[in-house]
Protein backbone atom coordinates (compact mmCIF):
# COMPACT_ATOMS: atom_id res chain seq x y z
CA UNK A 1 0.00 0.00 0.00
CA UNK A 2 2.62 2.50 1.11
CA UNK A 3 4.87 1.49 -1.71
CA UNK A 4 2.26 2.27 -4.35
CA UNK A 5 1.51 5.63 -2.75
CA UNK A 6 5.18 6.52 -3.00
CA UNK A 7 5.52 5.22 -6.53
CA UNK A 8 2.62 7.08 -8.15
CA UNK A 9 4.09 10.61 -7.95
CA UNK A 10 7.39 9.24 -9.22
CA UNK A 11 5.69 7.70 -12.23
CA UNK A 12 3.89 11.01 -12.71
CA UNK A 13 7.28 12.72 -12.78
CA UNK A 14 8.52 10.24 -15.40
CA UNK A 15 5.56 10.94 -17.66
CA UNK A 16 5.83 14.67 -17.02
CA UNK A 17 9.54 14.72 -17.90
CA UNK A 18 9.04 12.62 -21.02
CA UNK A 19 6.30 14.88 -22.30
CA UNK A 20 8.25 17.97 -21.30
CA UNK A 21 11.34 16.98 -23.30
CA UNK A 22 9.15 15.87 -26.18
CA UNK A 23 8.48 19.55 -26.81
CA UNK A 24 12.04 19.89 -28.09
CA UNK A 25 12.76 16.34 -29.16
CA UNK A 26 9.92 15.12 -31.37
CA UNK A 27 11.25 11.57 -31.70
CA UNK A 28 11.97 11.24 -27.97
CA UNK A 29 9.29 8.59 -27.54
CA UNK A 30 10.31 6.56 -30.59
CA UNK A 31 10.68 2.89 -29.53
CA UNK A 32 14.33 2.85 -30.58
CA UNK A 33 15.09 5.89 -28.44
CA UNK A 34 13.30 4.46 -25.41
CA UNK A 35 15.13 1.14 -25.77
CA UNK A 36 18.37 3.11 -25.93
CA UNK A 37 17.34 4.87 -22.71
CA UNK A 38 16.97 1.55 -20.88
CA UNK A 39 20.40 0.52 -22.13
CA UNK A 40 21.93 3.81 -21.00
CA UNK A 41 20.58 3.54 -17.46
CA UNK A 42 21.48 -0.13 -16.95
CA UNK A 43 24.90 0.35 -15.35
CA UNK A 44 23.66 3.11 -13.05
CA UNK A 45 20.50 1.18 -12.12
CA UNK A 46 22.44 -1.96 -11.20
CA UNK A 47 24.71 0.12 -8.96
CA UNK A 48 21.66 1.87 -7.50
CA UNK A 49 19.89 -1.39 -6.56
CA UNK A 50 22.85 -2.35 -4.39
CA UNK A 51 23.15 1.18 -3.03
CA UNK A 52 19.45 1.11 -2.02
CA UNK A 53 20.06 -1.81 0.35
CA UNK A 54 23.09 -0.08 1.87
CA UNK A 55 21.29 3.25 2.37
CA UNK A 56 18.24 1.42 3.78
CA UNK A 57 20.30 0.11 6.70
CA UNK A 58 21.65 3.62 7.29
CA UNK A 59 24.95 3.09 5.48
CA UNK A 60 26.58 4.44 2.33
CA UNK A 61 29.03 2.97 -0.16
CA UNK A 62 31.33 5.42 -1.93
CA UNK A 63 33.55 2.68 -3.32
CA UNK A 64 31.26 1.30 -6.04
CA UNK A 65 32.69 3.48 -8.85
CA UNK A 66 36.28 2.48 -8.11
CA UNK A 67 35.25 -1.14 -7.53
CA UNK A 68 33.51 -1.17 -10.91
CA UNK A 69 36.81 -0.22 -12.53
CA UNK A 70 38.82 -2.72 -10.47
CA UNK A 71 36.50 -5.65 -11.21
CA UNK A 72 36.42 -4.89 -14.93
CA UNK A 73 40.21 -4.65 -14.99
CA UNK A 74 40.66 -7.92 -13.07
CA UNK A 75 38.24 -9.73 -15.37
CA UNK A 76 40.01 -8.53 -18.52
CA UNK A 77 43.38 -9.30 -16.97
CA UNK A 78 42.24 -12.93 -16.65
CA UNK A 79 40.64 -12.92 -20.13
CA UNK A 80 43.87 -11.64 -21.64
CA UNK A 81 46.09 -14.52 -20.38
CA UNK A 82 48.15 -16.22 -23.08
CA UNK A 83 47.02 -19.74 -22.19
CA UNK A 84 45.73 -22.37 -24.59
CA UNK A 85 42.53 -22.53 -22.51
CA UNK A 86 42.06 -18.76 -22.72
CA UNK A 87 41.52 -18.99 -26.47
CA UNK A 88 37.99 -20.32 -25.87
CA UNK A 89 35.16 -17.87 -25.33
CA UNK A 90 34.12 -20.03 -22.36
CA UNK A 91 37.17 -18.56 -20.60
CA UNK A 92 34.64 -15.93 -19.54
CA UNK A 93 33.88 -18.15 -16.53
CA UNK A 94 37.20 -17.80 -14.68
CA UNK A 95 37.26 -14.11 -15.64
CA UNK A 96 33.81 -13.43 -14.20
CA UNK A 97 34.57 -15.51 -11.11
CA UNK A 98 37.81 -13.61 -10.51
CA UNK A 99 36.00 -10.30 -10.86
CA UNK A 100 33.15 -11.27 -8.56
CA UNK A 101 35.60 -12.81 -6.10
CA UNK A 102 37.42 -9.49 -5.76
CA UNK A 103 34.08 -7.69 -5.37
CA UNK A 104 32.90 -10.12 -2.69
CA UNK A 105 36.12 -9.66 -0.71
CA UNK A 106 35.76 -5.89 -0.77
CA UNK A 107 32.09 -6.13 0.25
CA UNK A 108 32.77 -8.54 3.08
CA UNK A 109 35.57 -6.35 4.42
CA UNK A 110 33.45 -3.20 4.27
CA UNK A 111 30.47 -4.93 5.86
CA UNK A 112 32.63 -6.35 8.62
CA UNK A 113 34.16 -2.95 9.41
CA UNK A 114 30.79 -1.21 9.24
CA UNK A 115 29.14 -3.61 11.70
CA UNK A 116 32.03 -4.45 14.04
CA UNK A 117 33.83 -1.11 14.39
CA UNK A 118 32.58 2.36 15.12
CA UNK A 119 34.10 3.79 11.93
CA UNK A 120 31.34 5.50 9.89
CA UNK A 121 30.63 3.72 6.57
CA UNK A 122 31.33 7.00 4.76
CA UNK A 123 34.94 6.85 5.94
CA UNK A 124 35.35 3.09 5.47
CA UNK A 125 34.17 3.21 1.88
CA UNK A 126 36.11 6.43 1.19
CA UNK A 127 39.19 4.40 2.14
CA UNK A 128 38.23 1.27 0.19
CA UNK A 129 37.42 3.51 -2.79
CA UNK A 130 41.03 4.74 -2.79
CA UNK A 131 42.39 1.22 -2.31
CA UNK A 132 40.26 -0.17 -5.16
CA UNK A 133 41.20 2.72 -7.46
CA UNK A 134 44.87 2.28 -6.69
CA UNK A 135 44.71 -1.46 -7.35
CA UNK A 136 42.90 -0.88 -10.66
CA UNK A 137 45.51 1.67 -11.76
CA UNK A 138 48.20 -0.85 -10.85
CA UNK A 139 47.28 -2.91 -13.90
CA UNK A 140 49.00 -1.90 -17.14
CA UNK A 141 50.20 1.42 -15.65
CA UNK A 142 46.61 2.71 -15.57
CA UNK A 143 46.17 2.38 -19.33
CA UNK A 144 43.17 0.59 -20.86
CA UNK A 145 43.54 -3.14 -21.57
CA UNK A 146 41.72 -4.21 -24.74
CA UNK A 147 39.46 -7.27 -24.56
CA UNK A 148 40.76 -9.99 -26.94
CA UNK A 149 38.47 -10.16 -29.97
CA UNK A 150 37.87 -13.91 -29.67
CA UNK A 151 36.20 -13.42 -26.26
CA UNK A 152 32.80 -13.10 -27.90
CA UNK A 153 30.78 -14.12 -24.84
CA UNK A 154 32.33 -11.41 -22.69
CA UNK A 155 31.93 -8.83 -25.46
CA UNK A 156 28.29 -9.91 -25.80
CA UNK A 157 27.69 -9.02 -22.16
CA UNK A 158 27.69 -5.31 -22.96
CA UNK A 159 27.05 -5.21 -26.69
CA UNK A 160 24.85 -8.20 -27.49
CA UNK A 161 21.10 -8.37 -27.90
CA UNK A 162 19.05 -11.28 -26.61
CA UNK A 163 16.83 -12.62 -29.37
CA UNK A 164 18.22 -9.84 -31.54
CA UNK A 165 16.13 -7.31 -29.63
CA UNK A 166 16.68 -6.91 -25.90
CA UNK A 167 20.15 -5.50 -25.12
CA UNK A 168 21.98 -7.82 -22.70
CA UNK A 169 22.69 -5.04 -20.15
CA UNK A 170 18.94 -4.34 -19.96
CA UNK A 171 18.22 -8.04 -19.43
CA UNK A 172 20.80 -8.17 -16.61
CA UNK A 173 19.34 -5.01 -15.09
CA UNK A 174 15.81 -6.49 -15.08
CA UNK A 175 17.11 -9.74 -13.62
CA UNK A 176 18.95 -7.91 -10.83
CA UNK A 177 15.85 -5.79 -10.24
CA UNK A 178 13.66 -8.90 -9.87
CA UNK A 179 16.08 -10.63 -7.51
CA UNK A 180 16.68 -7.60 -5.28
CA UNK A 181 12.96 -6.74 -5.21
CA UNK A 182 12.06 -10.24 -4.02
CA UNK A 183 14.90 -10.14 -1.52
CA UNK A 184 13.89 -6.79 -0.06
CA UNK A 185 10.10 -6.96 -0.18
CA UNK A 186 9.24 -10.66 0.15
CA UNK A 187 11.74 -12.18 2.58
CA UNK A 188 12.47 -12.00 6.29
CA UNK A 189 15.97 -10.75 5.41
CA UNK A 190 14.38 -7.75 3.70
CA UNK A 191 12.15 -6.96 6.66
CA UNK A 192 15.20 -7.14 8.93
CA UNK A 193 16.92 -4.49 6.80
CA UNK A 194 14.04 -2.07 7.37
CA UNK A 195 14.35 -2.86 11.07
CA UNK A 196 18.07 -2.14 11.19
CA UNK A 197 17.74 1.12 9.28
CA UNK A 198 14.57 2.26 11.03
CA UNK A 199 15.57 1.68 14.61
CA UNK A 200 18.98 0.17 15.17
CA UNK A 201 18.60 -0.25 18.93
CA UNK A 202 15.20 -1.94 18.66
CA UNK A 203 16.52 -4.22 15.93
CA UNK A 204 19.48 -5.23 18.05
CA UNK A 205 17.32 -5.91 21.13
CA UNK A 206 14.83 -7.96 19.15
CA UNK A 207 17.62 -10.26 18.07
CA UNK A 208 18.02 -9.37 14.39
CA UNK A 209 21.46 -10.63 13.30
CA UNK A 210 22.88 -7.19 12.55
CA UNK A 211 26.49 -8.13 11.81
CA UNK A 212 25.55 -10.92 9.42
CA UNK A 213 22.93 -8.82 7.61
CA UNK A 214 25.24 -5.83 7.30
CA UNK A 215 28.01 -7.96 5.80
CA UNK A 216 25.53 -9.54 3.35
CA UNK A 217 24.18 -6.11 2.31
CA UNK A 218 27.64 -4.68 1.58
CA UNK A 219 28.58 -7.87 -0.25
CA UNK A 220 25.49 -7.62 -2.46
CA UNK A 221 26.27 -3.97 -3.17
CA UNK A 222 29.86 -4.83 -4.11
CA UNK A 223 28.85 -7.83 -6.22
CA UNK A 224 26.39 -5.66 -8.13
CA UNK A 225 29.16 -3.09 -8.63
CA UNK A 226 31.18 -5.99 -10.03
CA UNK A 227 28.41 -7.03 -12.43
CA UNK A 228 27.99 -3.40 -13.53
CA UNK A 229 31.76 -3.20 -13.93
CA UNK A 230 31.89 -6.16 -16.29
CA UNK A 231 29.03 -4.80 -18.41
CA UNK A 232 30.71 -1.39 -18.52
CA UNK A 233 34.04 -2.96 -19.49
CA UNK A 234 32.42 -5.03 -22.22
CA UNK A 235 30.67 -1.94 -23.59
CA UNK A 236 34.03 -0.18 -23.86
CA UNK A 237 35.73 -3.18 -25.57
CA UNK A 238 38.48 -2.62 -23.02
CA UNK A 239 39.03 -2.37 -19.29
CA UNK A 240 39.66 1.20 -18.29
CA UNK A 241 41.30 1.40 -14.85
CA UNK A 242 40.52 5.12 -14.60
CA UNK A 243 36.81 4.75 -15.42
CA UNK A 244 33.88 4.86 -12.99
CA UNK A 245 34.89 8.08 -11.25
CA UNK A 246 31.77 9.63 -9.76
CA UNK A 247 29.51 6.70 -10.63
CA UNK A 248 28.72 6.27 -6.92
CA UNK A 249 27.22 9.76 -6.84
CA UNK A 250 25.01 9.08 -9.84
CA UNK A 251 23.81 5.87 -8.17
CA UNK A 252 23.11 7.70 -4.91
CA UNK A 253 21.16 10.31 -6.89
CA UNK A 254 18.97 7.59 -8.40
CA UNK A 255 18.35 6.08 -4.96
CA UNK A 256 17.30 9.32 -3.28
CA UNK A 257 15.24 10.54 -6.22
CA UNK A 258 13.54 7.14 -5.99
CA UNK A 259 12.32 8.00 -2.51
CA UNK A 260 14.80 6.19 -0.26
CA UNK A 261 15.46 8.12 2.92
CA UNK A 262 19.10 9.02 3.44
CA UNK A 263 18.76 8.30 7.15
CA UNK A 264 17.68 4.71 6.53
CA UNK A 265 14.61 2.57 7.09
CA UNK A 266 12.48 3.95 4.24
CA UNK A 267 12.68 3.09 0.55
CA UNK A 268 11.69 0.60 -2.13
CA UNK A 269 13.40 -1.18 -4.98
CA UNK A 270 10.82 -0.12 -7.65
CA UNK A 271 11.32 3.45 -6.42
CA UNK A 272 15.02 3.17 -7.18
CA UNK A 273 14.34 1.78 -10.65
CA UNK A 274 12.11 4.78 -11.37
CA UNK A 275 14.76 7.06 -9.84
CA UNK A 276 17.35 5.69 -12.27
CA UNK A 277 14.88 6.16 -15.13
CA UNK A 278 14.32 9.80 -14.11
CA UNK A 279 18.08 10.50 -14.05
CA UNK A 280 18.38 8.76 -17.43
CA UNK A 281 15.56 10.80 -18.99
CA UNK A 282 17.18 13.98 -17.70
CA UNK A 283 20.54 13.07 -19.27
CA UNK A 284 19.01 12.01 -22.57
CA UNK A 285 16.46 14.81 -22.74
CA UNK A 286 18.98 17.56 -22.02
CA UNK A 287 21.42 16.08 -24.55
CA UNK A 288 18.87 15.66 -27.29
CA UNK A 289 17.24 19.01 -26.68
CA UNK A 290 20.68 20.48 -27.38
CA UNK A 291 20.93 22.20 -24.00
CA UNK A 292 24.38 23.72 -23.48
CA UNK A 293 26.49 21.33 -21.42
CA UNK A 294 27.17 23.90 -18.71
CA UNK A 295 23.45 24.37 -18.14
CA UNK A 296 22.93 20.59 -18.00
CA UNK A 297 24.75 20.34 -14.65
CA UNK A 298 22.60 23.09 -13.16
CA UNK A 299 19.30 21.61 -14.33
CA UNK A 300 20.25 18.12 -13.15
CA UNK A 301 21.23 19.42 -9.72
CA UNK A 302 18.02 21.38 -9.32
CA UNK A 303 15.81 18.48 -10.41
CA UNK A 304 17.47 16.13 -7.90
CA UNK A 305 16.95 18.70 -5.17
CA UNK A 306 13.32 19.28 -6.16
CA UNK A 307 12.55 15.55 -6.29
CA UNK A 308 13.94 14.90 -2.84
CA UNK A 309 12.28 18.02 -1.44
CA UNK A 310 8.89 16.91 -2.76
CA UNK A 311 9.47 13.56 -1.10
CA UNK A 312 10.35 15.14 2.24
CA UNK A 313 7.21 17.30 2.15
CA UNK A 314 4.99 14.33 1.41
CA UNK A 315 6.37 12.42 4.38
CA UNK A 316 5.59 15.19 6.90
Amino acid sequence: MRASKQLLPLLGAVIGLLLFFRMWVPNLLAPENLLDLTQQISVNAILAFGMTLVILIGGIDLSVGALLALVGTCAVFVLDRKLALAQSSLWILPAVLAGLGVAALFGAFTGFCASKTKIPPFIITLATMLVARGMALGFNEGRPIPIPEHQTLFLGLGNGRLGGLLPTPVFVMLLVFAVTTVLLHFTRFGRHLYGIGGNYEAARLSGIPIVRNTIIVYMICSLLAGIAGMIHTSQLYSAEPASGTGFELNAIAAVVVGGTSFSGGIGTMPGTLVGAIIIGILDKGLNQAGVHFSLQYVVKGLVILAAVFADVIRRK
Binding site: P9, G12, P26, N27, D36, G142, S243, N287, F293
Partner: protein
Protein backbone atom coordinates in the same frame (compact mmCIF):
# COMPACT_ATOMS: atom_id res chain seq x y z
CA UNK B 1 -3.21 11.58 0.15
CA UNK B 2 -4.12 15.17 -0.68
CA UNK B 3 -0.52 15.99 -1.52
CA UNK B 4 -0.15 12.93 -3.70
CA UNK B 5 -3.14 13.87 -5.76
CA UNK B 6 -1.90 17.44 -6.02
CA UNK B 7 1.44 16.23 -7.34
CA UNK B 8 -0.32 13.97 -9.80
CA UNK B 9 -2.47 16.88 -10.90
CA UNK B 10 0.65 19.00 -11.38
CA UNK B 11 2.29 16.29 -13.43
CA UNK B 12 -0.89 15.98 -15.48
CA UNK B 13 -0.95 19.70 -16.25
CA UNK B 14 2.69 19.64 -17.33
CA UNK B 15 1.92 16.61 -19.46
CA UNK B 16 -1.04 18.28 -21.11
CA UNK B 17 0.97 21.42 -21.80
CA UNK B 18 3.80 19.37 -23.22
CA UNK B 19 1.45 17.47 -25.50
CA UNK B 20 0.07 20.68 -26.90
CA UNK B 21 3.44 22.33 -27.45
CA UNK B 22 5.06 19.12 -28.63
CA UNK B 23 2.59 18.75 -31.45
CA UNK B 24 3.22 22.32 -32.60
CA UNK B 25 6.99 22.12 -32.32
CA UNK B 26 7.32 18.82 -34.08
CA UNK B 27 6.91 20.25 -37.55
CA UNK B 28 9.58 22.94 -37.90
CA UNK B 29 12.25 20.62 -36.51
CA UNK B 30 11.64 17.74 -38.89
CA UNK B 31 10.71 19.91 -41.84
CA UNK B 32 13.49 22.48 -41.28
CA UNK B 33 16.00 23.08 -44.07
CA UNK B 34 19.19 23.11 -41.96
CA UNK B 35 21.12 19.94 -41.19
CA UNK B 36 22.06 18.96 -37.66
CA UNK B 37 25.56 17.94 -36.61
CA UNK B 38 26.86 16.76 -33.26
CA UNK B 39 30.25 16.93 -31.59
CA UNK B 40 31.38 15.14 -28.43
CA UNK B 41 34.54 16.20 -26.61
CA UNK B 42 36.45 14.28 -23.94
CA UNK B 43 36.35 17.49 -21.89
CA UNK B 44 35.47 21.14 -22.31
CA UNK B 45 37.67 22.03 -19.36
CA UNK B 46 40.48 22.96 -21.77
CA UNK B 47 40.62 26.09 -23.96
CA UNK B 48 41.90 23.93 -26.82
CA UNK B 49 38.50 22.30 -27.29
CA UNK B 50 36.66 25.58 -26.92
CA UNK B 51 38.73 26.92 -29.84
CA UNK B 52 38.28 23.73 -31.85
CA UNK B 53 34.54 23.95 -31.31
CA UNK B 54 34.52 27.57 -32.50
CA UNK B 55 36.24 26.43 -35.72
CA UNK B 56 33.68 23.69 -36.32
CA UNK B 57 30.81 25.99 -35.56
CA UNK B 58 31.98 28.77 -37.87
CA UNK B 59 31.91 26.49 -40.93
CA UNK B 60 28.70 24.66 -39.99
CA UNK B 61 26.77 27.84 -39.24
CA UNK B 62 28.06 29.44 -42.43
CA UNK B 63 26.24 26.62 -44.23
CA UNK B 64 23.07 27.51 -42.33
CA UNK B 65 23.27 24.29 -40.32
CA UNK B 66 23.32 23.60 -36.61
CA UNK B 67 25.86 22.06 -34.22
CA UNK B 68 25.12 20.42 -30.85
CA UNK B 69 28.16 20.34 -28.53
CA UNK B 70 28.43 17.82 -25.68
CA UNK B 71 31.04 17.39 -22.94
CA UNK B 72 31.87 13.82 -21.88
CA UNK B 73 33.83 14.90 -18.79
CA UNK B 74 36.53 12.22 -19.28
CA UNK B 75 33.82 9.58 -18.73
CA UNK B 76 33.76 6.87 -21.39
CA UNK B 77 30.28 5.69 -20.42
CA UNK B 78 28.89 9.22 -20.65
CA UNK B 79 30.56 9.59 -24.05
CA UNK B 80 28.91 6.39 -25.26
CA UNK B 81 25.52 7.66 -24.08
CA UNK B 82 26.10 11.13 -25.52
CA UNK B 83 26.86 9.66 -28.93
CA UNK B 84 23.82 7.38 -28.99
CA UNK B 85 21.65 10.35 -27.96
CA UNK B 86 22.97 12.35 -30.91
CA UNK B 87 22.61 9.45 -33.35
CA UNK B 88 19.02 8.81 -32.30
CA UNK B 89 18.25 12.51 -32.51
CA UNK B 90 19.11 12.14 -36.19
CA UNK B 91 22.36 14.02 -36.80
CA UNK B 92 23.69 14.04 -40.37
CA UNK B 93 27.28 13.80 -39.23
CA UNK B 94 29.23 13.28 -36.06
CA UNK B 95 32.53 14.73 -34.81
CA UNK B 96 34.21 12.75 -32.08
CA UNK B 97 37.05 13.51 -29.72
CA UNK B 98 37.44 10.20 -27.87
CA UNK B 99 37.99 9.78 -24.12
CA UNK B 100 39.38 6.28 -24.64
CA UNK B 101 40.84 5.63 -28.08
CA UNK B 102 39.96 1.93 -27.90
CA UNK B 103 36.79 2.13 -25.82
CA UNK B 104 35.01 4.28 -28.40
CA UNK B 105 34.66 1.26 -30.71
CA UNK B 106 31.03 0.46 -29.77
CA UNK B 107 29.91 4.00 -30.58
CA UNK B 108 31.76 3.98 -33.91
CA UNK B 109 30.01 0.72 -34.84
CA UNK B 110 26.65 2.23 -33.87
CA UNK B 111 27.30 5.29 -36.06
CA UNK B 112 28.39 3.12 -38.97
CA UNK B 113 25.25 0.93 -38.62
CA UNK B 114 23.13 4.06 -38.77
CA UNK B 115 25.01 5.27 -41.83
CA UNK B 116 26.14 8.45 -40.06
CA UNK B 117 29.67 9.54 -41.08
CA UNK B 118 31.98 10.28 -38.17
CA UNK B 119 35.12 12.39 -38.20
CA UNK B 120 37.61 12.15 -35.37
CA UNK B 121 39.12 15.42 -34.20
CA UNK B 122 42.37 15.98 -32.29
CA UNK B 123 42.89 12.54 -30.70
CA UNK B 124 42.88 9.47 -32.97
CA UNK B 125 40.90 6.26 -32.46
CA UNK B 126 42.30 2.75 -32.77
CA UNK B 127 39.63 1.37 -35.12
CA UNK B 128 40.23 3.93 -37.83
CA UNK B 129 38.49 1.80 -40.50
CA UNK B 130 35.20 2.69 -38.78
CA UNK B 131 35.57 6.44 -39.28
CA UNK B 132 35.50 8.71 -42.31
CA UNK B 133 38.70 10.52 -41.45
CA UNK B 134 40.83 11.79 -38.61
CA UNK B 135 41.85 15.43 -38.36
CA UNK B 136 44.58 16.09 -35.83
CA UNK B 137 47.72 18.06 -35.18
CA UNK B 138 50.96 16.47 -36.28
CA UNK B 139 51.59 15.35 -32.72
CA UNK B 140 54.79 13.41 -33.35
CA UNK B 141 56.29 16.54 -34.92
CA UNK B 142 55.05 18.61 -31.97
CA UNK B 143 56.98 16.32 -29.62
CA UNK B 144 60.11 16.58 -31.78
CA UNK B 145 59.90 20.39 -31.80
CA UNK B 146 59.66 20.45 -28.00
CA UNK B 147 62.71 18.19 -27.61
CA UNK B 148 64.72 20.28 -30.09
CA UNK B 149 63.83 23.50 -28.27
CA UNK B 150 64.87 21.95 -24.98
CA UNK B 151 68.17 20.71 -26.43
CA UNK B 152 69.10 24.29 -27.31
CA UNK B 153 68.84 25.58 -23.76
CA UNK B 154 69.27 22.68 -21.36
CA UNK B 155 72.21 20.29 -21.68
CA UNK B 156 72.91 18.01 -19.99
CA UNK B 157 69.23 17.50 -19.11
CA UNK B 158 67.50 15.41 -16.46
CA UNK B 159 63.90 15.29 -17.66
CA UNK B 160 60.57 14.17 -16.25
CA UNK B 161 57.50 13.66 -18.46
CA UNK B 162 53.93 14.35 -17.29
CA UNK B 163 51.94 12.00 -19.53
CA UNK B 164 48.24 11.47 -20.26
CA UNK B 165 48.69 8.01 -21.67
CA UNK B 166 45.04 7.07 -22.24
CA UNK B 167 45.08 9.55 -25.12
CA UNK B 168 46.75 8.68 -28.43
CA UNK B 169 47.61 12.31 -29.28
CA UNK B 170 49.66 12.47 -26.08
CA UNK B 171 51.23 9.07 -26.77
CA UNK B 172 52.38 10.45 -30.15
CA UNK B 173 53.80 13.61 -28.60
CA UNK B 174 55.86 11.61 -26.13
CA UNK B 175 57.00 9.30 -28.91
CA UNK B 176 58.22 12.25 -31.01
CA UNK B 177 59.84 13.81 -27.96
CA UNK B 178 61.74 10.62 -27.12
CA UNK B 179 62.68 10.01 -30.74
CA UNK B 180 64.35 13.43 -31.00
CA UNK B 181 65.90 13.07 -27.54
CA UNK B 182 67.69 9.89 -28.63
CA UNK B 183 69.98 12.12 -30.71
CA UNK B 184 71.35 13.74 -27.56
CA UNK B 185 73.03 11.18 -25.26
CA UNK B 186 73.42 13.72 -22.44
CA UNK B 187 69.65 14.25 -22.21
CA UNK B 188 68.02 11.65 -20.08
CA UNK B 189 64.42 10.94 -19.00
CA UNK B 190 64.30 10.15 -15.27
CA UNK B 191 60.63 9.18 -15.04
CA UNK B 192 57.24 9.37 -16.74
CA UNK B 193 54.16 9.96 -14.59
CA UNK B 194 50.45 10.52 -15.24
CA UNK B 195 49.52 14.21 -15.02
CA UNK B 196 46.07 13.62 -16.57
CA UNK B 197 46.56 16.53 -18.96
CA UNK B 198 45.01 18.97 -16.50
CA UNK B 199 46.40 21.70 -14.25
CA UNK B 200 44.98 20.16 -11.09
CA UNK B 201 46.17 16.71 -12.13
CA UNK B 202 49.73 17.75 -12.96
CA UNK B 203 50.47 19.94 -9.96
CA UNK B 204 50.65 17.26 -7.21
CA UNK B 205 52.46 14.84 -9.50
CA UNK B 206 55.14 17.46 -10.22
CA UNK B 207 55.56 18.15 -6.52
CA UNK B 208 56.15 14.45 -5.86
CA UNK B 209 58.63 14.18 -8.70
CA UNK B 210 60.59 17.14 -7.28
CA UNK B 211 60.78 15.33 -3.97
CA UNK B 212 61.99 12.14 -5.59
CA UNK B 213 64.42 13.68 -8.08
CA UNK B 214 65.99 16.87 -6.71
CA UNK B 215 68.32 16.90 -9.76
CA UNK B 216 65.45 17.46 -12.26
CA UNK B 217 66.18 20.39 -14.57
CA UNK B 218 63.61 19.93 -17.34
CA UNK B 219 59.94 18.95 -17.63
CA UNK B 220 57.87 17.87 -20.62
CA UNK B 221 54.17 18.12 -19.67
CA UNK B 222 52.18 16.98 -22.69
CA UNK B 223 49.92 20.07 -22.89
CA UNK B 224 49.54 23.65 -21.69
CA UNK B 225 47.16 22.94 -18.78
CA UNK B 226 49.51 20.36 -17.29
CA UNK B 227 52.46 22.69 -17.94
CA UNK B 228 50.68 25.36 -15.87
CA UNK B 229 50.21 22.79 -13.10
CA UNK B 230 53.91 21.86 -13.24
CA UNK B 231 54.90 25.55 -13.20
CA UNK B 232 52.72 26.16 -10.16
CA UNK B 233 54.39 23.25 -8.32
CA UNK B 234 57.86 24.47 -9.34
CA UNK B 235 57.06 28.00 -8.19
CA UNK B 236 55.84 26.90 -4.80
CA UNK B 237 59.01 24.82 -4.38
CA UNK B 238 61.15 27.83 -5.43
CA UNK B 239 62.65 25.83 -8.30
CA UNK B 240 61.22 27.52 -11.37
CA UNK B 241 64.57 29.21 -12.18
CA UNK B 242 66.42 25.90 -12.31
CA UNK B 243 63.92 23.92 -14.34
CA UNK B 244 63.01 24.42 -18.01
CA UNK B 245 59.44 23.61 -19.02
CA UNK B 246 58.66 22.77 -22.67
CA UNK B 247 55.23 21.63 -23.83
CA UNK B 248 52.78 21.27 -26.69
CA UNK B 249 49.55 23.28 -27.19
CA UNK B 250 49.72 27.01 -27.87
CA UNK B 251 46.74 28.20 -25.83
CA UNK B 252 46.41 31.85 -24.79
CA UNK B 253 47.34 30.86 -21.21
CA UNK B 254 50.42 29.01 -22.43
CA UNK B 255 51.58 31.92 -24.55
CA UNK B 256 51.05 34.28 -21.61
CA UNK B 257 53.26 32.01 -19.48
CA UNK B 258 55.95 32.17 -22.18
CA UNK B 259 55.80 35.97 -22.22
CA UNK B 260 56.23 36.10 -18.45
CA UNK B 261 59.23 33.77 -18.72
CA UNK B 262 57.75 30.84 -16.81
CA UNK B 263 57.32 28.52 -19.77
CA UNK B 264 60.15 28.15 -22.27
CA UNK B 265 58.17 27.10 -25.31
CA UNK B 266 55.09 25.34 -26.57
CA UNK B 267 54.67 23.55 -29.90
CA UNK B 268 51.54 25.39 -30.90
CA UNK B 269 48.58 23.59 -32.41
CA UNK B 270 45.89 25.33 -34.40
CA UNK B 271 42.61 24.08 -32.92
CA UNK B 272 40.41 26.45 -34.93
CA UNK B 273 42.05 25.17 -38.08
CA UNK B 274 41.43 21.56 -36.96
CA UNK B 275 37.75 22.40 -36.39
CA UNK B 276 37.35 24.23 -39.70
CA UNK B 277 39.12 21.50 -41.66
CA UNK B 278 37.06 18.74 -40.02
CA UNK B 279 33.82 20.53 -40.89
CA UNK B 280 34.96 21.09 -44.49
CA UNK B 281 35.85 17.39 -44.86
CA UNK B 282 32.37 16.50 -43.61
CA UNK B 283 30.73 18.73 -46.22
CA UNK B 284 33.05 17.33 -48.91
CA UNK B 285 31.93 13.83 -47.98
CA UNK B 286 28.24 14.75 -47.92
CA UNK B 287 28.70 16.30 -51.38
CA UNK B 288 30.01 12.95 -52.60
CA UNK B 289 33.69 13.90 -52.83
CA UNK B 290 36.44 11.53 -51.69
CA UNK B 291 38.11 12.43 -48.40
CA UNK B 292 41.62 11.40 -47.35
CA UNK B 293 41.84 9.24 -44.23
CA UNK B 294 44.42 11.16 -42.21
CA UNK B 295 44.63 14.93 -42.17
CA UNK B 296 47.58 16.36 -40.22
CA UNK B 297 47.36 20.01 -39.22
CA UNK B 298 50.62 21.97 -38.88
CA UNK B 299 52.32 22.70 -35.57
CA UNK B 300 54.67 25.60 -34.89
CA UNK B 301 57.14 26.29 -32.11
CA UNK B 302 56.26 29.33 -30.02
CA UNK B 303 58.93 30.72 -27.70
CA UNK B 304 59.78 34.15 -26.30
CA UNK B 305 60.98 35.41 -29.71
CA UNK B 306 57.68 34.95 -31.54
CA UNK B 307 55.16 34.89 -28.68
CA UNK B 308 53.86 38.38 -29.42
CA UNK B 309 53.34 37.88 -33.13
CA UNK B 310 51.77 34.48 -32.52
CA UNK B 311 49.31 35.90 -29.97
CA UNK B 312 48.28 38.61 -32.44
CA UNK B 313 47.97 36.25 -35.39
CA UNK B 314 45.53 34.11 -33.43
Amino acid sequence: MKRTSMLLLGAGIVAALACGCGAKDAKPETGGQGKLFGVVYQTMNNPFFVELNAGLKSVIEAHGDQLVTLDSQFNSLKQKNDISDLLLKGVSGLFINPVNWEGIKGSLIQAKDKGVPSIVVDAPVKDEELVLCQVASDNVEAGRLAARALAQVRRPAKIVILHHSINKACIDRVEGFREELAKYPDMQVLDTQEGKGTTEGARPVMRDLLGRFPEVNAVFPINDPSALGAISALESAGKLKDVTVVTVDGSAEGVAAIKSGKLHSTSAQFPREIGRTAAEKMYDHLAGKAVEKDVAIRVELVSKENADTFAQAK
